[in-house]
Symmetry: C2
Subunit: 359 residues, 2 copies
């Protein structure tokens, strides 16, 4: 280990930006991922990466699911960019690991040896991988690996809970912004009807649970097929369904989606988009009450122009929110919902299991 | 003219979607632009197109500004897609023309012979061009042309005002969603500090004027250079500056942008992004008060993932709105601001003049 750099760093990590100059780490093409830390930084020994729900399928499809090619792709991105930011999707994911070294000026309150998850995207986190991803079979978005990552002064990390298995906690924390923002938007209205598109997925099921807890008058879970509908219906506590109504529709078919939500008690006062496929913008707008409804887009596959022009083209007076991954208290909320809703927990565990067996 | 189709149409224009099936016109690759109208449609005889602020520069740069190549490009897109939706930017623009035929079931209240502007995007408007764009010198985003366009039952159009020159009204209506949403967001707060990024531009200057009228406590206009700063300062009424402070910064330089806003009285409670260049997301977030501020993205160059992940990466608890081009009353507001603010009108006239002389 070389001595830490002597010059003061930036809490935003600007000192790690190699190119282009002047941009924030998220917007940078390449970061300096050296292991030596600045005084306000923290170095984490990698445990696993959790590639995000847009990036993993893109890599999988681009390489025909070939494990060797997918390993090479991830290694190539990290080697070239100093971070795991998928150049096609622009997105990253998150990671877990163990705190290795804490700079004397770090404000994060972490201690060496603590197991942590980062709650800022891999797309801005300096990263180096040292084991060639030899333990990743590429069948899951969770990537066991060795190496290090750097946290800045203004990064967010949380100590992993002792009562939940690591992969489960990681999967919940990966999407924790969605239930937190859903809670905030729902709680600001009186008994709203809430539609969650992709309700049997990870961010979706947590958002359904968060909407219910925040006082939704009715929660409509939209899923893509009968299998997911059964999954969602099974995610109930005795006597308490997770969603009040379950509707089946292809979210890319705008009219079918709007009809499904309308038939389940819509239009929605709040629509939460949690499906990571392109082309859901118009249907989400069409499923939402106008005037006055709100659409929250969490999918990284959302097209800004499709949303903006789509709403305009429908003369739909709705508010459209970009799903900010950071809302204070988001980690605690997501972990709490997993603990309190065995049905949601089961959905997560089944997903994690299925991904481990992804063909 | 063939007889109008006998089958009932959809107010959303679904009957005009050729491929792929089931999507809304905005998301379609190709529309049926035949001249015969369905009972609830209106056909407009084209006067001019106004390519949007993302599409025109893309076409200009892609073809090195060559007028023949740019004409061919626009003609090719319209011929292939049945609408003027730039395949690279996804955006369109708007148009003016004269009402040619009104279907018996049209709810729009238009009459043949009226001069109108459409307030829904060209990206979803069936369009046919018949003059080869012979009158367009490609030096301006305003494209004189002959042909027809189709309005659906749920489209929005406005009769052009008699007291404003056509190009001026068209330019104002093209961006009228920005001041309208700015007004709504600003009016919901108490004396907020508002930063408008790109304040000397068309949507920017209208948003500055709208923010002031809606009760902003302080309006900070951010521009890219001293020439634009002088333009914005000159856009004052006697004794009443348009913006309280004018700051110069490159919006792609996140830290410089945030510093400029801070130095001019920020951070902003509301930041309005009106510059059509990529890479402004991080700076806009960084210039905004956290927790509790709001960023409104109007630029079609906005990257959804860059905004979502950028805010998360900065641990910035801000609301981020996708600029919906439709807000009730938006046309009247924009035209009223042009009438009431000679300085804003001058900015528009200078821009229109300069674009006519674009090298």
């Amino acid at each position: 280990m070389t001595a830490p750099p002597a010059d003061p760093g930036s809490p935003l990590g600007l000192h790690r930006v190699v190119e282009p100059a002047g941009v924030l780490p998220q917007a940078a093409w390449r970061l300096d991922a050296r292991a030596a830390i600045w005084p306000d930084e923290v170095r984490v020994r990698l445990g696993r990466l959790n590639l995000d729900a847009a990036s993993y399928p893109q890599l999988h499809d681009a390489h025909g699911g070939d494990p060797g090619a997918m390993r090479s792709a991830v290694l190539g991105i990290v080697a070239e960019r100093g971070k795991m930011q998928n150049p096609v999707t622009g997105s990253g994911g998150m990671l877990t690991g163990v705190v290795d070294e804490v700079g004397p000026a770090s404000p994060l309150g972490l201690r060496p040896g603590e197991p942590v998850a980062t709650l800022v995207s891999l797309s801005l986190t300096p990263l180096a991988i040292t084991d060639g991803l030899a333990r990743w079979d590429a069948r899951s978005e969770q990537v066991p690996c060795a190496g290090h990552a750097i946290l800045f002064g203004r990064s967010i990390a949380t100590v992993l809970p002792g009562d939940l298995p690591g992969p489960l906690a990681l999967a919940a924390l990966d999407v924790c912004g969605a239930p937190a923002l859903t809670r905030r938007v729902v709680a600001a209205r009186r008994d709203p009807a809430v539609a969650v598109i992709g309700a049997a997925g990870k961010s979706g099921s947590l958002s359904v649970a968060a909407a219910r807890r925040a006082g939704a008058g009715r929660v409509i879970g939209v899923v893509r097929d009968e299998r997911e509908a059964a999954d969602l219906r099974s995610a109930a506590r005795p006597g308490h369904a997770l969603a009040d109504a379950v509707a089946v529709a292809d979210a890319r078919d705008s009219v079918a989606l709007a009809d499904a939500v309308a038939g389940a008690g819509g239009p929605a006062d709040v629509t939460v988009v949690c499906v990571d496929v392109p082309g859901c913008e118009g249907g989400a707008v069409l499923a939402t009450r106008t005037p006055g409804g709100t659409v929250i887009f969490f999918s990284m596959a959302t097209s800004f122009s499709a949303a903006a022009l789509g709403a305009e083209g429908l003369a739909a007076d709705v508010s459209m929110l970009i799903g900010n991954g950071y809302v204070p208290g988001h980690a605690e909320l997501a972990l709490g919902l997993i603990r309190d809703h065995p049905g949601v927990r089961s959905l997560f565990e089944n997903r994690i299991h299925a991904e481990g067996g992804r063909p």
